[in-house]
């Protein structure tokens, strides 16, 4: 886990996004249910939550694609409803699915957007070429985007978004469905973009992605922000991770559970596997102790009481554990509650 990045741009004094009581309903479903956000300019702000939590709907309202049903939202001080056109001049959106025209080639897509944002023909072509080169897509420039791989699509999508160096960039789950290598490359791009003063609102389902990129994180669930803070603050409330233990003898499990509970001062979860146990480490009760240190102490304690451990592992907290810690319920993605009430707009659109 790295904690070195904190992208403080020159304009870090102001707020890029400010929302108060933002609400969006689809039928009976309150997809966004009173969201308050304050995103400092020049930073990456992570919006973390499971499918259907309301992340995409929030982004769509901020990008002027959906009209809020309640509350207010300002982007660099401009109201997203009343000054929608001004806001559109400042933001750029990379949707969950490719926001480029799949029938057109890479060059054509970028030239199209360059022309639409006011570049002359010549400037549009040279800008497109430079961008394609910088994104390592020079060889694929004249191929239709529908023949691109997942990683290439993401790149052309982000290239289209930064064509005019927006002040605020929305990245809606930019790495969902990418292999680890492409994922790292997308992260590098995001770092480069933010390094030049652009504010990024990143939505993600992955805790480690938010951890890698974001300076501040809001955890969102069922349309509400359930936790907000810097990465450090959030981790302190969640715990640094969990230790998974497999015992040799199933009959020793109740005893092991007791030992772990005392040693870690945390709730111990009984796994479906009769010899397995999971416990959180490095949480609020850790008193500054490292997760690893805490876990090894607990394992030593198990050995001392004569319980044989077959193997163990120390993992980062998953999104599920974050949710368990914050809400007391796991992050089970709810199915859309009816045809008129899409949890996540994308699902509704695809099924049409």
């Amino acid at each position: 886990m790295s904690s070195k990045q904190s992208y403080r741009g020159p304009g870090s004094g102001g707020l890029a996004i400010e929302t108060a009581g933002l609400v969006k309903t689809f039928g009976d479903n309150r997809a966004v249910d009173g969201v308050d956000l304050a995103v400092p300019a020049g930073t990456v702000y992570g919006l973390l939550g499971p499918n259907g939590a309301g992340k995409t709907t929030t982004v769509k309202m901020l990008a002027t694609l959906l009209r809020p049903d309640g509350g207010e939202a300002h982007v660099f001080g401009h109201d997203v409803v009343r000054a929608a056109d001004t806001v559109r001049g400042l933001v750029s959106l990379t949707g969950q699915y490719a926001s480029v025209d799949e029938d057109l080639t890479g060059t054509e897509n970028l030239v199209l957007l360059a022309r639409l944002t006011g570049h002359g023909k010549k400037a549009a072509y040279s800008r497109a070429e430079q961008l394609l080169d910088a994104f390592g897509l020079g060889d694929a420039a004249s191929r239709q985007v529908k023949n691109y791989s997942g990683g290439m699509r993401r790149r052309i999508d982000i290239a289209a978004s930064i064509l005019n160096t927006p002040d605020l960039l929305f990245l809606d789950e930019p790495t969902t469905g990418l292999d680890p290598r492409s994922r790292n490359q997308v992260w590098d791009i995001v770092r480069a973009v933010v390094g030049h003063g652009t504010t990024v609102l990143l939505t993600t389902q992955y805790l480690d992605e938010a951890d890698q990129l974001a300076a501040r994180i809001a955890v969102i669930d069922k349309g509400k922000v359930i936790a907000e803070g810097t990465k450090g603050e959030l981790k302190a409330s969640v715990g640094a991770g969990s230790v998974h233990v497999r015992l040799r003898h199933a009959e020793q499990r109740p005893q092991a559970e007791e030992v772990l509970r005392i040693a870690l001062d945390a709730e111990v979860k009984i796994e479906p596997d009769p010899v397995a146990l999971t416990a959180r480490v490095g949480g609020g009760a850790a008193n500054g102790q490292g997760a690893a240190e805490q876990a090894s102490r607990a394992l030593a304690e198990l050995a001392r009481t004569g319980i044989t451990v077959d193997n163990f592992s120390l993992g980062q907290p998953s999104l599920d554990e974050v949710f368990l810690a914050l809400t007391g319920h796991p992050s089970d993605p709810e199915p859309p509650s009816g045809p008129g009430a899409p949890q996540d707009l994308k699902e509704a659109e695809v099924s049409r």
């Binding site: 959106l93 926001s99 957007l113 944002t117 430079q130 390592g136 289209a160 480069a192 659109e349 049409r352």
Partner: protein, 281 residues
């Protein structure tokens, strides 16, 4: 998708962050483009789509040829003594009928296109809102022009002899203007209805009576009075009469005025409704 492209991810060139940095520093914000400029750019997008998927020209080539051949030989002998005689009357009308029928594909393609992610990007751009759809229709106007050229060529081969070349151009131009306006009906349905199939269904319901109950095949004098009332006030009748007149070297002022009037009315009614739906989508 070929296998060659799926293995691409492995040897994809790395992102050049230093050149990326240069691009980001050059914080170019050109002046906001005009409504005309963005509409034409979207028109260019439509043309690129034709270039990449030329199969979609089937409906503006094969379909119109079929229409001319079918109706000329089917009705020619019975209605005008011979197909050669009949085509003098029929061709301008069947031209109008085919092009007006082709306009429904606008609705179908808007319906499938609008669901794609790229529309989110278009709608988050600070541009004149209707230009996305206007560009669409400009591209379609090009398709209508192609259909017209194909039909006139086939007609001339079959014996159609217009009296005025200028009149032919004028007639086609009038038809393009009317079709552009009429297409707004389909952009509305394309946004309103959920599936491609329902768009097709509604189109057929509207287009069949509108094109058949006109003066395209026969003169209205032979019809019962109540039907004449409909036929004589059908916009398609006005357009067909105007085009027929122009191609015959006349100046059918009243029909031209009616056609343009209908075109204006269609845009004035269905344009704003379309935009309302587009903004709410």
């Amino acid at each position: 998708m070929s296998t060659a492209t799926t293995t691409e991810a492995q040897d994809l060139a790395p992102v050049r962050t230093e050149s990326l940095a240069e691009l980001l520093i050059a914080k170019e914000r050109p002046r906001r483009p005009s409504a005309l400029s963005t509409s034409l750019t979207f028109g260019w997008r439509a043309i690129l789509k034709i270039k990449h998927v030329p199969e979609q020209l089937f409906d503006v080539t094969a379909f119109p040829i079929m229409m001319v051949l079918m109706y000329t030989y089917l009705f020619g002998g019975a209605l005008a003594g011979s197909p050669r005689e009949y085509i003098q009357y029929l061709l301008p009308g069947i031209l109008v009928m085919s092009v007006v029928m082709i306009t429904m594909y606008t609705g179908v393609s808007v319906n499938t296109d609008i669901e794609k992610g790229v529309f989110d990007r278009f709608r988050s751009l600070p541009i004149w809102r209707p230009s996305t759809l206007v560009g669409y229709l400009l591209g379609d106007a090009l398709r209508y022009a192609m259909a017209s050229a194909v039909m006139l060529t086939v007609g001339i081969i079959m014996g159609f002899r217009p009296d005025s070349a200028l009149g032919v151009l004028g007639g086609v131009l009038l038809l393009l203007v009317f079709s552009f306006a009429f297409s707004w009906v389909w952009t509305m349905f394309g946004l309103l209805l959920r599936t491609e199939k329902s768009v097709m269904g509604v189109s057929m319901m509207v287009l069949f009576p509108l094109t058949f109950l006109s003066d395209i095949f026969v003169k209205p004098e032979t019809m019962p009075g109540w039907l004449q009332a409909f036929v004589n006030n059908n916009p398609v009748t006005h357009v067909a009469s105007a085009v027929r007149g122009l191609m015959a070297g006349d100046w059918p002022g009243a029909d031209i005025a009616w056609s343009l009037g209908w075109a204006g009315l269609l845009v004035a009614v269905f344009g704003p409704v379309t935009m309302r739906l587009y903004n709410r989508k």
